[in-house]
Symmetry: D3
Subunit: 68 residues, 6 copies
């Protein structure tokens, strides 16, 4: 405990993945959760498979984030 | 709010993905949820990694849906 | 297949839950997925446990949706 | 994007929930993700329903964290 | 690794929960995964919030499993 | 019901996937759940995207499990 699942757009850089793992774990330690207990899974979801407001992000946010 | 996660067999066509995003969002608006608040994530899972009744779908449903 | 998981704010009315189950299943049938194959799970998450922009929805959206 | 789902033991204090929402969102802003785009859902799972090493946490970790 | 999330109908007996935790962990050890690495989370979802074939299980399966 | 979601490291062999599907389903039948009702989805997550104790598994467990 805890178990964290993070969904990001496909193409999210590895160094950002590493940064999230390190610093989100740190946030948990600040509320007295031991670092070793923190498990974080990160899923990359293509913008074409992520809908907001009825439209896929590959259309709605084509100029933001990773290109598909 | 709401946040929707949909698992489908790998190979699900993009036009069907777009149809789901558009029309599932519409269903939410019919219960007074604003379209912009609806977030939909779609995960493609290989039939080989989807078990029903103790068997993977790539065996149990080999003649249905996308080929693997 | 498919398997759908929907997260909504705690207090979402049952008749809306029933409406979602019925009509989201219908959307799937419109892309040639048999109704019987569609499984939908709906989770109610308290607004106090749902964060947007760094703030819980029980603060950020205290005047919208179910009261807590 | 991103969408974060966090599972913690039932009984996790609300002030810790608020702390996580605020500071995990901050971590995302540090990798150039706008705060408003960050959605965090927190699920409380009873220790009796959380297994590690073949045993429920209400037995394995009965002296740690919230009592059940 | 691995991390297992199990959804069952609300009212699933605790002794069955314990049985699942113990014996699903055992299955993993049979494919060379150390028991201590296996984390299992079990969520109880009301039959009223679980749809199959366009209908909630509290209607479709009212005579099966826990009463609501 | 039930619906099971399993996260494993990317590179988990298919014969182990098949073993899990078959034998986890069997465990459910031992608590009176019909095999046909058991749905199991298995997600492969790269070790680079799986954090434990603030570090990705591709670093922390580089000598264990599948190579990346």
């Amino acid at each position: 405990m805890p178990m964290v699942q993070i969904n990001v757009w496909k193409g999210f850089e590895q160094e950002k993945v590493d940064y999230l793992i390190k610093n989100i774990t740190k946030v948990f330690t600040e509320v007295d959760v031991p670092a070793e207990a923190v498990e974080i899974l990160i899923y990359e979801v293509p913008k074409s498979h992520w809908g907001v407001g009825g439209e896929s992000c590959s259309i709605k946010f084509k100029d933001i984030g990773p290109k598909e």
